[in-house]
C-alpha cells in the first residue's frame, strides 16, 4: 500500500511540474516522474503476482519512454541552439513572428523547384 501511495505522489508531483514549470528541462523531469510513477505501480503489482511478464513489459515500456525522452532532449538542444531559449512560453511567442520569416521563406524557395 505504501508503494501505491508513493507512486500516486510521484504522479501528482509530475503533473504539478508540468502545469507550472516553464523551462523545457524541468518539463522533461516532470515527464520522467510521471513515467516512473506508472512503472513503479507496474513493478509493484507484478511482484505481487509472482509472474515474470510484468517485468518484461516494464523493460519494454521503459525503452519507449526513453526514446521519447531522447526526442524531447533533442528538441531542447534545437530550441536553445536555434532560438536561444528553453522557455516554452517564449517559444510560443516566437511563433507569431515566424510565419513570414520561417516557413514562408523556405517555401518560396522550394516553390521554384516544384513548378
Amino acid at each position: 500500500m505504501d508503494y501505491v501511495i508513493l507512486s500516486m505522489t510521484l504522479l501528482a508531483i509530475g503533473i504539478y511540474g508540468l502545469l507550472t514549470k516553464r523551462h523545457l528541462l524541468k518539463v522533461l523531469i516532470s515527464v520522467e516522474l510521471i513515467a516512473t510513477a506508472a512503472s513503479m505501480n507496474f513493478v509493484l503489482l507484478a511482484s505481487s503476482l509472482n509472474k515474470a511478464l510484468g517485468e518484461a513489459f516494464l523493460i519494454l515500456a521503459f525503452s519507449t519512454d526513453t526514446c521519447v525522452t531522447g526526442i524531447i532532449l533533442a528538441l531542447l538542444v534545437i530550441a536553445s541552439k536555434k532560438y536561444g531559449t528553453c522557455d516554452i512560453r517564449k517559444l510560443a511567442k516566437l511563433e507569431q513572428h515566424e510565419t513570414i520569416e520561417g516557413e514562408g521563406k523556405s517555401d518560396s524557395k522550394i516553390k521554384e523547384d516544384i513548378v
Binding site: 518539463v27 515527464v31 528538441l75 520561417g102
Partner: protein, 498 residues
C-alpha cells in the same frame, strides 16, 4: 497454416527498407539526372515487396477459414510463450493492414514530390515514414496489450519527426506539446494496464477478457478503465483531450499532416476500438456506452463549432479531423455489427478525405494562400487543386454520391439501432454546421473576386496522388461494396456482440 514469419514479415520488411532507404537516397542525391525516376522506382519496389507478404497473409488466412474468431501466434514455443509478444490475426487486422499499406503508399507518393529530394535530411523523413507504416501494421497485428502498447507508442512517438521536419518555432512548439501529451498518455495507459495486469495476471487480449468476465468486484477495473480511456483519448484527440491536434497538424508540413491524419489518426481510433470493443466488451465486462456517448457528443459539437470559427484553412481542416473522431466514437458507442462496419468504413474514408484535403492545402499553402481571405477566387486561378479540395469538402459534408455519405449514413443508422437516437440527432445537426462552414470555404474559393486574376501553374506531379484519392472517394461512394466486402468477415467474427 500461418507461421510467425508470415505475420512479422510485413513489419520486418518495412523496417528493413526504412534502414536501407537512407544510404540509397543519399547515393541518388549525388547523381545528376533521372533522380525522380530512380526514387520513384526505389520506393515503388519497397511498397511492392512489402505488400507481397500482406497479400500472402490475407490469402492464407482466407484459404482455411478457422473455427476460432482469431489466430493467436506467439513468438516462441510453449514454455516461454508467456514472456513473448503475441500476434493476433483476424479479419479486422488484415483489413487495417491492407488500408494502411494502400493509403500509406499514396501519401508517400505525395511526400516524395512535396519534400524536396535534394534537401539534406529528406532521406530521414522517408525512412521515418516507412518505419511508422511498419509499426502501425504491427499495431494492427498485435495480440496482447504489451505488443499493442509498444508498436503504438513507437508509431506515435515516431510521427513527431514528421511534424518537426521544417524546424520552425511553431512546429518545434507544437511537437513538444504533442510529445508531452503522448508521454502523459502512455503513462496513464501503463498505470491502467498495471492494474489490469494485477487483476488478471495476463495481458493477452483473449485471456484478459475471459478473466474480466469472471471478475466479480469491478471497482479496480473501473479505476483501470479511467486511466486507459483517458490515455487513449489523449492519443485519439477526443474533446477535451484534443488540444494538441490542431496545433500539431497546422505546424507540420502538408505531407506530414496528410500522412498523420490518414494513418496515425485512423490507427488511434483502431486502438481505441480494439481495447473498448474486444477487451472491455459491454455489457459483459464493463458498461461504458453512456459515458462514451457523452464524449462523442462533446467531440462532435466542439470540433465542428471550433472549425466554424477558424480563419486559417489548414487549422479548419484539422478541426474537422477532431469532429471526425466524434463521428467515429458514435459508431463505437453503438456496439452493433452495423456500427463496427460503419466505423471500419469511416476509418478508410475519413483517412482518405482528410489526407486529400491536406494534400490540396499543401499546394495552396505553397502559393502563399493560408487564410480564408487569401482563398478568395482561388477556384479560378488553380482549377484542379480547388476541384480536389471541393470534392474532399463535399465528402466531409456527407453529400452523396461521395463516399462520406455512406460512411456517415452507416454511423448514424447504427446509433439509431442502438437506441441512441439523441446521439444521432446531434450528429446530424453538427453535420449541418459542417456543411455551413465548408460551404463558406467554397464560397470564398469560387465566389469572391481574387486580388489578381492571373492563373497559377499547378504542380502536376503533386496532383497525381491527389486525384488518385479523389477517384477513390467517388468510386467508394457509388460502389461501396468493394470495401464492405472486405469488412464483412470482420462482422461475422463478432459473436460476442449482440
Amino acid at each position: 497454416m500461418i507461421e510467425i514469419l508470415d505475420v512479422s514479415l510485413p513489419i520486418i520488411s518495412f523496417v528493413l527498407f526504412s534502414l536501407l532507404t537512407i544510404p540509397v537516397v543519399k547515393a541518388m542525391r549525388k547523381r545528376k539526372g533521372m533522380k525522380t525516376v530512380l526514387t520513384l522506382g526505389w520506393f515503388s519496389t519497397v511498397f511492392i515487396i512489402a505488400a507481397i507478404p500482406i497479400a500472402n497473409l490475407a490469402i492464407k488466412y482466407y484459404e482455411h477459414p478457422s473455427p476460432q474468431p482469431f489466430l493467436n501466434i506467439t513468438l516462441t514455443s510453449e514454455p516461454l510463450a508467456i514472456f513473448s509478444s503475441t500476434f493476433m490475426i483476424d479479419a479486422m487486422s488484415i483489413y487495417m493492414a491492407i488500408i494502411f499499406t494502400i493509403v500509406g503508399a499514396v501519401t508517400f507518393l505525395y511526400s516524395i514530390f512535396y519534400i524536396n529530394l535534394s534537401e539534406r535530411p529528406s532521406e530521414r523523413y522517408y525512412s521515418v515514414m516507412l518505419i511508422i507504416i511498419g509499426c502501425i501494421i504491427g499495431t494492427a497485428f498485435s495480440g496482447d496489450l504489451l505488443t499493442l502498447f509498444i508498436f503504438w507508442e513507437a508509431s506515435a512517438a515516431g510521427s513527431s519527426f514528421l511534424m518537426l521536419y521544417r524546424k520552425t518555432p511553431s512546429s518545434l512548439h507544437a511537437t513538444l506539446k504533442y510529445l508531452v501529451m503522448i508521454i502523459i498518455a502512455s503513462a496513464f495507459i501503463v498505470y491502467g494496464l498495471s492494474i489490469v495486469y494485477g487483476i488478471t495476471g495476463t495481458l493477452n487480449f483473449w485471456a484478459v477478457k475471459q478473466a474480466l468476465i469472471a471478475l466479480e468486484d469491478k471497482h479496480l477495473l473501473v479505476t483501470a478503465f479511467i486511466f486507459i480511456a483517458a490515455g487513449y483519448a489523449i492519443e485519439a484527440a477526443v474533446v477535451p483531450f484534443h488540444m494538441w491536434l490542431p496545433d500539431a497538424y497546422t505546424a507540420a508540413p502538408a505531407s506530414s499532416s496528410a500522412f498523420l491524419s490518414a494513418l496515425i489518426d485512423q490507427g488511434s481510433y483502431y486502438v481505441l476500438l480494439r481495447v473498448l470493443i474486444y477487451i472491455l466488451t459491454p455489457p459483459t465486462v464493463l458498461e461504458w456506452t453512456v459515458m462514451l456517448a457523452v464524449f462523442s457528443a462533446l467531440t462532435m459539437i466542439v470540433g465542428n463549432l471550433l472549425a466554424l470559427a477558424q480563419e486559417n484553412v489548414k487549422r479548419l481542416i484539422a478541426n474537422v479531423c477532431i469532429a471526425d473522431v466524434g463521428y467515429n466514437l458514435v459508431a463505437i458507442t453503438s456496439v452493433t455489427p452495423l456500427g463496427i462496419m460503419g466505423n471500419l468504413y469511416f476509418f478508410l474514408i475519413g483517412g482518405i478525405t482528410t489526407a486529400l484535403s491536406f494534400m490540396a492545402l499543401g499546394i495552396l499553402n505553397r502559393m502563399g494562400f493560408e487564410t480564408l481571405e487569401d482563398f478568395s477566387g482561388v477556384g479560378r486561378r488553380m482549377p484542379f487543386t480547388s476541384l480536389a479540395l471541393l470534392l474532399g469538402v463535399f465528402s466531409f459534408a456527407g453529400v452523396p454520391p461521395l463516399a462520406g455519405f455512406i460512411a456517415k449514413y452507416l454511423v448514424f443508422t447504427s446509433a439509431i439501432e442502438a437506441n441512441l437516437s439523441w446521439l444521432a440527432v446531434i450528429g446530424v445537426l453538427t453535420s449541418i454546421i459542417q456543411a455551413a462552414y465548408l460551404l463558406r470555404l467554397i464560397n470564398y474559393m469560387y465566389a469572391k473576386t481574387p486580388q489578381e486574376e492571373t492563373k497559377i501553374k499547378e504542380p502536376k506531379k503533386l496532383l497525381v496522388p491527389i486525384f488518385i484519392l479523389v477517384a477513390a472517394i467517388i468510386i467508394l461512394g457509388v460502389y461501396p461494396t468493394i470495401v464492405l466486402n472486405l469488412i464483412e468477415p470482420v462482422i461475422q467474427q463478432l459473436p460476442f456482440i449482440p
